[in-house]
Symmetry: C2
Subunit: 523 residues, 2 copies
């Protein structure tokens, strides 16, 4: 697998890497070991040979963990004036707090393993100034043996290294905001990053505290970041005033095959401040919003976290429920609507927005990514050139060797990464005057498919309709429009359609009334 | 929960039960016990109080397990001339073999727990004539302590009882067949049944054979029915000549929270011959095709079952792949396309096909069911009266207390049953001339939704588009058409549309070209 990933990086990204300026930085890293990860007698204990040891591969991609060499001018008069960031990241919430995605083609060109520099960042406030030598976190709550642990001690414990996709639940939210404003900001289709993570399995820490199985009093693990990270304080919550926190169930925390880790390295280097230095949680297959950064507390409880953000964030409410109704009627606290696992999703990286496919070319190679949640494998990536009447199967040519594949059967092996697909298309298909749209969808092993059209929800989360690009036929070739452009920048066919609607929003769905895709009624 | 289910049955079905003729039969049953199900030290061992003990409830619904009092005339000249069957079952493959579903309103009226009499039957050949006293099965293969066990011994082992939905992967296949013929027969939307099952956990049997965890040589459990059940012999396969067999992964087999059981009672009585007497496998959340009936062999292997039907059945291939191409190009053996878990699905029971909702009425109560796979909870059931522009949230008012809810968090608790929903609708909505269609869809906790339109696949399996009923406005009221009628019986709006197409099939999807729902292209 090490060879496979290396090959994948070479095939899909290394060429591009050579042409890009990426700052290099030599950092010290501990040689992490996967040898004793699973040796604790809990659940399906197994031996480490059952997982590929990715530690070597992670070391080889250290160059993808380097920080940009200087602080961006835009950060100079903010509390983050010490954090070095890649200048090409798209800032979605102004200068501060820092919430960014990379341009999708840029990230895509690096291949299967993303540079840390271009990995999604979701910050709620100023980046906490933590020190490796002084940072500690507590393992506490309903545990027989609570303890506090520092970074050197953590890094000396048995660890595991593997690649894992991190995705914000708001990925592709801008499309939702063009239908009707949600209460979240406008992510494009690149609120993602696929990197190596190294850390101590959460269950190893829980075992050390005396927790070996779920049971009365020990049904949830509440995870919290530092106090005063967020402007509002909510003093009585888990994590304390101003902390961002959430919880996961004990079963997921303890199951070795769920691979929840307390991570201190990304791509073989210590964490970048934006990604949670010195320590964060990684919960494969889950939405990014549960992967607490700058970790300060692991608390075992008999109920979900009572942190403000656990209940008031990361929910998908039914479409008729807007923000006002949600609060008035208590929808935030209805257990059905919490979201944990990612859903099936994906997008087209090439052709990029505004790209013109030359009429004189013979073929064009479509490229993109897809992922699903809960470890489910993406089994199909498909493009339609006739608005969904028929589908062409793309080649999924870069994906990970799944986790636990030598232990679980193919059906249960865990897929924590994105996959990358390509399809060679005759240019004449695109130049055909009937070809006004190319639709992308993916399907996972449980036969979950991306939706034909979006369903608006008040947080604009887990938006996963077919990714549709529209084609304009020009003498030079087929000019491509994506649905929209990440952040406040205008552009894209959805935005144009929204502008034509009286309210400026596509209130009913993706097509806009009167468009060819809009359902019509018989009278 | 016993009280809840009793209440649910009273609310949704008992009234109806009182009006229907159901044969009563007194059978002997063993008082099964859930006390020591999980006490084996494997994985997340837990105590039995963590699950509701359904044994009492199952005993109370014994009346739902009675056989029809006499043999149907249609079965008289077949090998099944000894099997007593409910006459209202819809026969989908002629007289023999027996493959049936109940009329959906009939099943629905019984409420949450279905009568055994009206439960889906999928038989591959004549019902094997097995005897309780002589039937045995083997636990064999790569196990330290192989053994053979008879029914009395099995029934004396620790057992568990719980309600579980059984669904054929071909549920709603007739809609697929109207798009283009698949290689399966025409199930309507009632290839289901939700009953109590009592049996010994598969992992308890595996433990007895010395298997406590997955490992080299022990990664799959191959399950086979009796030899010579099927006409073709395939002598070298698992299970032997003429056996129907498949396999599941060892992780699922051993995980207590996956609830795989070797069942010998349904609704508190010994199994009906059509449902696998004397013993079958129940794999909650999976397609019915893996739940081997008339069980003869449990074989531990390092690879999937090599039974003919394991590879040549229960697959969803991509839409361009037809039967010929599948065989020529080896698609049956591509591991991606096996199906195990059910996908999100559901249907409308009321209004029934051809029902007229009186124009003079004030309101009408829509009723239906929904389910998902893998234990995922159905979190939304929705109806649209404007072809998907907006959705009304139905009340999910009958569902089970989930399994393992006191052990796993809400998110991981297992939902093995259907749920039943209702929505009161002002009749004026339906009489509005713009209301030409009512669409139903369900959403599960992983945000998987029923598809807007179907995707044809060569086996016609896991078909789960929105369930659309069409409305015809008559002076008497709103006349309702479902998409089709189960089996060879004509009827339904899809069938009418197919009849208008030159080939008699809706080759591209659910709407038919030129219909309001068909996408149009700009020129």
């Amino acid at each position: 697998m090490v060879a496979n990933i290396a090959a994948a990086v070479v095939a899909a990204g290394a060429g591009a890497v050579a042409h890009k300026v990426l700052a290099r930085k030599d950092g010290t890293t501990r040689a992490s070991s996967a040898d004793d990860v699973a040796v604790d007698g809990v659940a399906f204990a197994t031996d480490p040979s059952q997982n590929v040891d990715h530690a070597d591969a992670a070391k080889k991609v250290k160059y993808l963990a380097q920080m940009w060499p200087e602080v961006d001018a835009r950060d100079m008069k903010t509390p983050d004036d010490w954090v070095k960031r890649h200048p090409e990241l798209i800032r979605l919430t102004g200068k501060h707090p820092f919430n960014v995605e990379a341009p999708l083609p840029l990230l895509y060109d690096y291949g299967f393993i993303s540079p840390v520099n271009l990995h999604i960042v979701r910050n709620h406030g100023a980046v906490p100034r933590c020190e490796w030598d002084t940072h500690t976190f507590d393992v506490c709550g309903n545990v027989p043996k609570p303890f506090t642990i520092g970074m050197d001690e953590l890094a000396a414990m048995p660890s595991d290294t593997f690649p894992c996709l991190v995705v914000c639940a708001g990925n592709r939210r801008k499309e939702q905001n063009l239908i009707k404003s949600s209460i979240g900001f406008s992510w494009g289709p690149c609120a993602i990053g696929n990197t190596y993570w190294t850390g101590v399995p959460l269950r190893v820490l829980l075992n050390r505290a005396g927790i070996y199985k779920p049971g009365p009093g020990a049904r949830y693990v509440c995870l919290s970041g530092p106090q005063n990270e967020l402007p509002k304080d909510y003093p009585d919550q888990d994590g304390g005033p101003g902390s961002y926190g959430t919880s996961i169930d004990m079963e997921t925390a303890l199951d070795p095959t769920c691979d929840v880790i307390v991570a201190y390295e990304q791509n073989g280097e210590k964490l970048h401040p934006d990604h949670g230095f010195p320590v964060r949680v990684i919960i494969p297959g889950y939405i990014g919003g549960r992967m607490i950064k700058f970790l300060k507390e692991i608390k075992v409880t008999d109920r979900e976290s009572n942190n403000f953000y656990h209940f008031n964030d990361n929910r998908v409410l039914p479409p008729p429920v807007d923000a006002e109704r949600a609060t008035e009627e208590g929808w935030w606290f209805k257990p059905e609507f919490i979201i944990n696992q990612l859903n099936i999703n994906g997008a087209v990286a090439y052709p990029a927005h505004d790209e013109v496919i030359p009429a004189a070319s013979k073929t064009y190679t479509f490229k993109g990514y897809a992922y699903s949640g809960g470890g489910r494998k993406v089994i199909r990536a498909e493009l339609s050139f006739d608005q969904g009447l028929s589908w062409k199967l793309a080649d999924i040519n870069v994906r990970e060797e799944p986790r636990w594949a030598n232990f679980c059967s193919g059906d249960k092996a865990r897929h924590w990464c994105w996959c990358m697909w390509t399809l060679d298309v005759p240019t004449e298909w695109l130049m055909d005057k009937d070809c006004v749209e190319v639709c992308f969808r993916a399907v996972d092993q449980s036969m979950n498919k991306m939706d034909e059209r979006p369903t608006w929800n008040v947080m604009g989360m887990l938006n996963n309709p077919w990714y549709r690009i529209r084609i304009e036929h020009t003498p030079a070739g087929a000019r491509v429009e994506h649905p929209c452009v990440a952040g406040p920048t205008p552009g894209g066919w959805m935005q144009k359609m929204a502008a034509k609607e009286p309210t400026g929003e596509l209130l009913w769905g993706w097509g806009g009334s009167g468009t060819p895709a809009a359902p019509k009624r018989e009278s």
